[in-house]
Symmetry: C2
Subunit: 262 residues, 2 copies
């Protein structure tokens, strides 16, 4: 049974006149909220709406684009989540000037390009060790507590590219470590870092010189240039469960970020 209430018709009267146009739109034309969002985004980045100035109000935009308030709102909140505008209750929506510091580097801009499935992961060592001062501090355990100590090498085309060191709190109830040891593809490796393992964490990226051990593992001279991606993983209750770092040969890796729309 189809219910049709003449009072709440969705289709605009124009539809009745623009039959062919409607056909085209059904093909590929983007939804209204997207069209509005990109139009407004263009106006902000091109300076039509100067940085800091007030955008037309919701009702004005409704008139211009001939849509309902909710559709305009949706477009505006998209722009707000992208940082292009900020809304202030009672005052208006204002154009923001994006700055360099808003740029975002996605970690997969590191891995996505050539480090795909063909990467090989070699487990160099997996053992128990006693936490030294630094490890104890990072993991929040007592000095000398037993922790799991892992070292891995990621090869690409049989060339060592990353060297990974990790300390994990030893918990006999959690057999997760076992499955971690058998990872062979890089994707599975990176995918193992989060939701299916630990939901929280923190990463920091720096530039370092390789020490003797990692240099040897990577087949590089000591002191060679590398990126260091340090990671701390935490449980949902915010207790730290793992600490480690990747050393990436600097000439093989770079992070990319795009500015602007698209």
């Amino acid at each position: 049974m189809k219910i049709f209430d003449v009072n709440t018709q969705q289709t605009k009267p124009a539809d009745l006149l623009e039959g062919p146009l409607e056909r085209e739109r059904a093909d590929s034309e983007p939804p209204a909220y997207l069209r509005i969002a990109t139009t407004l985004a263009d106006r902000v980045t091109s300076g039509t709406y100067a940085a800091g100035s007030r955008l037309p109000s919701g009702s004005q935009l409704c008139q211009e684009f001939e849509v309902s308030p909710m559709t305009v709102r949706r477009a505006l909140s998209m722009l707000e989540s992208q940082g292009l505008v900020t809304g202030v209750r009672g005052r208006g929506t204002f154009a923001r000037s994006l700055n360099l510091s808003d740029s975002v580097f996605r970690l997969d801009s590191l891995t996505g390009e050539w480090l795909d499935e063909s990467a090989e992961i070699r487990l160099l060592s997996a053992s128990m060790t006693k936490a030294d001062e630094k490890v104890a501090a990072m993991l929040g355990v007592a000095l000398g507590d037993r922790v799991v100590y892992l070292r891995r090498l990621v090869l690409y085309d049989s060339n060592p590219a990353m060297y990974h060191t990790e300390y994990i709190i030893y918990d006999p109830r959690r057999p997760l470590v076992e499955s971690q040891l058998q990872l062979t593809s890089l994707h599975a490796f990176l995918d193992s870092g989060r939701a299916n393992r630990f939901p929280r964490g923190e990463l920091t990226l720096t530039a370092v010189n390789l020490d003797a051990e990692s240099a040897q593992a990577l087949g590089q001279p000591e002191g060679a240039l590398a990126l260091c991606l340090e990671h701390v993983f935490q449980n949902n209750d915010r207790t730290t469960v793992s600490w480690g770092w990747f050393l990436l040969r600097a000439e093989l890796f770079r992070l990319r970020a795009r500015l602007g729309s698209e």
Copy 2:
């Protein structure tokens, strides 16, 4: 004049029974769509909704949270934009397992902490030069064309921290360069990189060793460790207008990223 239509009342009947509770909610309780989104996000990251599995359907969630479909949709599309779930038309909404490579580094995690207003910017040189091979290729101009050549030093507590080199296409109609030369605060400097200047661009981050010139400018030994932030800015029509790079003393800078909610 206040219009009240008994058929479209927004407040739930429960409000009439839970007067005091309603008072509390007015204080600080987050809006429903946020509450739903965080609840669902918790269930995804904690594994209540296993990775790859289907979430309850929209109507089921409506029942559980006692809200209208649109509110559930809003929460779901938030999660989708965060990458926690993906919706498939006609089939359902599925939990995604986030991976390390979804991590995001914001550039302001570099600058926000101690490099605030107190940073000083010193213009080392501003001149016209002829494009060499590399510059011509990056800017898309002919070899030997005149380009603007800038060198800047960013100091913190009178210590050199960044060294900036930039080539800009010379355009007599655009007096932008003049104002660029007078920047003194770091914030204004970074803020000048985008919307009020060029809306598009690309950044890449790598680790490098300092060459003789930059090492001297930064007061470091040649070959010292640095992060290199290379930037290409483009006009709205995608023509390149500027190319340059920042060299950041490695021991002073690191990028941070947080994983998980909050």
